[in-house]
């Protein structure tokens, strides 16, 4: 099957190269920006791909919602299969693309959009057919994992960790989507949609890592904890919860062995029990390998990753509770239900009694609106 590549950046080049040796696949035309068509295999209009009868599938690796959505819709409407690594696209308009694909008998797969080389969405899409998926989540952003690891193992301050991540190519010039937890949130949205056919949309909560300091790290590490930015999704009665926040884990937890820019995804099946998948969550070759794996699955007969019934639902983060570790202005400590606390120099560090995720995130927003500084992380028991 000849595969067109939409985009020729970091991942696009990797996909193009891997297509040269993959079994049953070969590289087709590559869509680039006007003026960048400096080789015969490069084209500048999506029509050249859509109208090419030899092209059986396209790999969209451009990023962003537009023009990626229009291109993807055109490819699928022509009955050609589509694979994408673009989480923003699938989170924003994946349900529409799945419907277009279904109408035209084309495949629409996107495991590279969550976890890079880690086969998380692929696996969820298989497991849901015979097992009940109870919960899912993990470390889904390699940039922030690299930074947290550097802050904790090397004792770096946040700003230095960010600079190092940028120098190594792990963080973008504008790192907002990563450090705010938005990137991980998009990924957990996709995982919920694949596992349960419900894409959580409103009421999502994401607390990133921008508030963590070397002093925080020294404090919780001295107590035997390691911090990871975790995305979590699950069922709560009739609803779906989906949120991202820092979590403190006890030494020896599998998450603590996830170093540098690695990812770890996990789900709990009613029958399978906990299944954990680790690997490189980003980068040219790991992400390209996930795109190629999806293309191989299309050759085998796979067609859909989102179940046919998939619908948007509001997230319900009021029904999940944790203990939280919180650092905040000492004069505001009394506002939290407190298990234990210590205070020095106007700063309190405390462990709360169980609080809902919604309540904790709302409280942090309030402190910040007052001009106060707060760091919080769920305590894994």
């Amino acid at each position: 099957m000849k595969v067109a590549v939409l985009g020729y950046g970091t991942v696009g080049l990797g996909v193009y190269e891997m297509l040269k040796t993959a079994k049953g696949l070969e590289p087709g035309p590559v869509l680039v920006r006007p003026g960048k068509d400096d080789a015969p295999f490069k084209v500048t209009s999506i029509e050249a791909i859509v109208n090419d009868p030899e092209v059986g599938a396209a790999a969209e690796v451009m990023g962003g919602v537009e023009p990626a959505f229009s291109y993807a819709a055109a490819v699928l409407s022509a009955g050609k299969h589509l694979v994408t690594s673009n989480k923003a696209l699938v989170a924003a308009r994946g349900i529409e693309l799945a419907e277009i694909a279904r109408e035209h008998g084309a495949a629409f797969l996107f495991s590279a959009a969550c976890g890079g080389g880690v086969p998380f969405l692929h696996h969820l899409s298989l497991a849901r057919e015979s097992d009940e998926i109870l919960s899912l989540g993990g470390i889904l952003n390699g940039t922030t994992n690299y930074m947290l690891d550097a802050i904790q193992r090397l004792g770096l301050e946040y700003e230095q960790a960010l600079k190092d991540a940028q120098r190594l190519g792990y963080a973008e010039a504008d790192p907002t989507a990563d450090v705010s937890g938005l990137d991980a949130l998009r990924k957990i949205m996709l995982a919920c949609a694949v596992a349960w056919g419900r894409l959580p949309r409103e009421g999502l909560l994401n607390e990133g890592i921008a508030s963590v300091t070397a002093a925080d790290a020294a404090h919780f590490m001295a107590r035997g904890y390691t911090c990871r930015l975790m995305a979590r999704g699950g069922k709560t009665g009739d609803g779906i919860y989906a949120y991202v926040e820092p979590v403190l884990l006890r030494e020896g937890a599998a998450e603590c062995s996830v170093l540098e820019n690695y990812n770890m995804a996990r789900y709990e099946g009613a029958c399978a029990g906990p299944i954990i998948l680790m690997g490189q969550g980003a980068g040219r070759w790991p992400t390209a390998s996930a795109v190629l794996r999806d293309l191989g699955c299309i050759l085998l007969g796979h067609r859909e990753m989102l179940p046919a019934c998939c619908a948007e639902v509001p997230a319900d983060n009021g029904g999940v509770s944790h203990l939280y570790y919180v650092r905040l202005p000492a004069h505001r400590a009394a506002a939290l239900p407190c298990e234990s606390a210590e205070s020095a120099g106007g700063v309190a560090r405390l462990v709360t009694k169980p609080m809902s995720v919604a309540a904790m995130h709302a409280f942090a927003a309030k402190i910040r609106a007052e001009g106060g500084e707060i760091f919080f992380a769920a305590l894994e028991q």
Copy 2:
């Protein structure tokens, strides 16, 4: 698709129950021993299944090579798909079964035969199509992991750890296949066959855990190491290495977070990088979930897990080297190339210079032939 179940033991019952709710699947007749057919859905002859036009596939979960092979061959020869959890069967006669399946247009999948609920073989079979698999392995036997964990974390002696494992149903009354490393060896044979189309047969090496004592554990744990029984396979020039042996890992390695009877499989892809998969490696529901996953893959179009070219090859374990930690009679310590050593009460504990796997296993066999006691484990750097 109606699925017959061959065997109604621990896993068989799980498969039968899961078939009742799995999408696109339903339970068919269950093959039991004569005299055990105490319900209408149970049959006692394989012909009743082979000749049932409604049966589209069978799940073989009996264990053992015969009559499992004859039954599996009969099912495949009738053009019905076959899924099995039986590693002894696939290691002994999997290549023949794959050929029969191919001749008759039937599927032959066996991911439940390696790693229980962990989707290792499934994943290798996808990854090999577009990526080069460089090496693979992991903790593939839950019984011995449970025992090693109990010896190390609870300070139990080997015999007590074995009794506990038997009481909990993790170890069989005759635990030889588990504690000798043979069970893990069969699994790594299958993984090599799936990844490279080469089933290593002669020259395989398996050192189990029967030689480890609480004193050994105290000694290497004081030096910051945790012991796991690891199976390893890889390419060495033109050959394939495949062996099982205890390995000492530094604190913080992902393997150290594998507790109780869990499994961890890993492979290194040239493009994907290291991919690690963890979960429950045995038990009714995890193993049944892997059988059901394979059946779901058949619905999607999967047909083969062993590549068409798969052939038996001798294993080449002479070209892989490690440092080894060794406890042996003090008077024999000089026979090893030694990096550091200590000796007390006639017993020496030493770390060797790099030695080939073949040389270390041969040396241990020699010491035992002399009536000496030896424990060894590769040192992970």
